[in-house]
């Protein structure tokens, strides 16, 4: 089953409320998947100071202070490190790729949950409402966020099996559905040198999109490539630093509802995740058409 949510704020006055809105949306999708959950938040200065490179790390059993000093020595500037529930969030006034390189070298066994400017990715195993509470999501600000509640079908219930998959700079992908030919595509991507963290089908989708974007394609083209290459049932939300996009497979049996106002654009697996958003009673509400790419940029 699984549930997905995405929120893109147009009105800066709402930025302080991003986390509260996202937490409400995610909690409402707990019925669709309660074994694990994850979020990506763009622009929360408490986690991702503006102008700093940010990396989110999981499965790293080292205290934050030690991580800060180890990575600080590697990049030559002070590094901030804080534990947000089980995710270690690090940032420094260097490009995110530089910080990521230092983290990979120092902690090769850590799971990279996400990286990029202004981006924080948190994920964990447990009930979504408990997780949003542990993350303090309701207090987070920002301009954009995505989230996922997982009912595992394709791989184990572990942090590495939880969405979002944020495998390219500032990129994030959440998925409601399942890919049936992911093993074939993973093999092809591995042959091209792409590395994987899990056996999860969605990770293949995220790596595929990142691979396309890295080759210079735009999001719309990359998502059309997904439609042409992947077999299965899916609704995907693909976010980037300033944009987010939605696409569904040709059969379109996996649900999706989009609501749009002058203040925000939101997508969720079901309307009930949108029901408490401010001004939803006057929102334009529709279901995305199969194999049509919808994209918003701020």
């Amino acid at each position: 089953m699984c549930g997905i949510v995405g929120l893109h704020l147009r009105n800066p006055e709402l930025h302080p409320r991003l986390g509260a809105m996202l937490a409400e949306m995610l909690g409402e999708m707990q019925d669709r998947g309660a074994d694990s959950a994850g979020i990506a938040v763009y622009g929360n200065p408490e986690w991702a100071p503006p102008g700093h490179g940010c990396v989110s790390l999981l499965e790293l059993d080292v205290v934050p202070d030690e991580v800060a000093s180890t990575l600080g020595a590697a990049v030559g500037v002070p590094v901030a490190a804080q534990l947000v529930d089980t995710t270690l969030v690090v940032s420094a006034p260097v490009p995110a790729e530089e910080l990521l390189g230092a983290a990979r070298a120092a902690y090769p066994d850590a799971l990279i949950a996400g990286f990029g400017a202004d981006l924080t990715v948190l994920k964990g195993v447990g009930a979504p409402r408990d997780l949003t509470e542990s993350w303090g999501l309701a207090h987070a600000s920002g301009w954009q966020g995505v989230g996922h509640t997982r009912m595992a079908t394709e791989s184990a219930v572990t942090p590495s099996g939880a969405h979002p998959y944020a495998v390219g700079p500032e990129q994030c992908l959440v998925h409601n559905g399942s890919f049936s030919n992911h093993a074939t595509i993973r093999r092809e991507l591995r042959a091209e040198g792409v590395e994987f963290d899990s056996e999860n089908d969605t990770e293949v989708g995220a790596r595929f999109v990142a691979h396309q974007l890295a080759a210079g394609k735009d999001v719309e083209t990359a998502l059309k490539e997904v439609c042409a290459t992947f077999d299965g049932f899916y609704t995907l939300v693909v976010s980037n630093h300033d944009s987010f996009a939605v696409v569904r497979d040709a059969i379109a049996c996996k649900p999706a509802v989009i609501a749009e106002t002058d203040d925000w654009v939101a997508i969720a697996s079901e309307y009930r995740a949108l029901a408490k958003l401010p001004g939803v009673e006057n929102a334009r509400i529709w279901e995305p058409e199969p194999e049509v790419v919808y994209a918003w940029t701020r």
């Binding site: 059969i251 379109a252 049996c253 649900p255 509802v257 079901e270 309307y271 009930r272 995740a273 949108l274 029901a275 408490k276 509400i285 529709w286 279901e287 058409e289 199969p290």
Partner: protein, 249 residues
């Protein structure tokens, strides 16, 4: 077998005064305050008259499984399977409906004032489903006798394997309309992106115009120009195994 009669007479409200004294003629439920199970449980009990349900907020199975000649008005958007398995009740949803509205309805009327998600009226045996806006993919999938009138467009694979009943589409139909259809009659005013296997356009004879006029009237669209509609139905080529196709198996 499909039926040629349209029963859209208003639900007969009880006139039993003794009953009216013990039960309020109007029941009001606020889903923001009362759990859905409690509301549905009340709807399945000894209830009559007019019922109003507020604040559904996309909840699933609102007013599902009702079997009483009551009028239920739901103010707001509902989630999956609203008014599913309905019998006798007239249910009006002042909002959009999620997946499978009025699925497996047996009788009564369900009216959606907004849009409906996929599989509206799926497998329904009887009654009338009206969606005043658009319906998404697979509207009327495997319909077994229900009448469905859609004010706007329907998505792909609508009336897939439809067995009986009538489907009226006042707008356009998506790809694969009526794929593997049995005996449902489909009337479309707009364009059809493509027809599914064994679904073909058929001539509009007098009895079809009459049937269409009755359905449109029942759904509140009596002013439509009937000549703008095309009838679609089964070519009946898939009913029996043909030995010429043996190599395909």
């Amino acid at each position: 077998m499909d039926t040629l009669t349209i029963d859209n007479s208003p639900a007969p409200f009880p006139t039993d005064t003794a009953k009216a004294e013990t039960m309020s003629p109007n029941h009001h439920f606020d889903l923001a305050a009362t759990p859905l199970r409690e509301v549905n449980s009340a709807l399945h009990g000894d209830i009559s008259g007019e019922i109003v349900i507020d604040n559904p907020a996309g909840a699933h199975a609102v007013a599902a499984g009702v079997n009483a000649p009551v009028k239920i008005t739901v103010n707001g958007h509902v989630g999956y399977y609203a008014a599913g398995m309905n019998q006798q009740a007239e249910v009006v949803i002042n909002g959009n409906a999620g997946t499978g509205v009025a699925e497996n309805m047996m009788s009564g009327t369900v009216i959606v004032k907004g849009n409906a998600s996929q599989s509206a009226g799926a497998t329904a045996h009887g009654g009338l489903l009206v969606v005043e806006g658009d319906a998404a993919a697979r509207c009327g999938i495997s319909m077994k006798g229900v009448d469905i009138v859609i004010g706007g467009n329907v998505g792909h694979n609508s009336a897939f394997m439809a067995q009986a009943g009538r489907l009226v589409i006042r707008g356009d139909a998506g790809h694969g309309l009526g794929d593997s259809i049995y005996e449902t009659r489909i009337y479309v005013r707009g364009d059809v992106a493509s027809l599914g296997a064994d679904c073909i356009a058929k001539p509009m004879r007098e009895e079809h115009l009459e049937e269409l006029a009755g359905l449109l009237k029942a759904a509140g669209f009596a002013d439509d120009d009937l000549s703008a509609y095309t009838r679609y139905g089964s070519a009946r080529e898939l009913y029996h195994f043909k030995v010429d196709n043996a190599s395909a198996y």
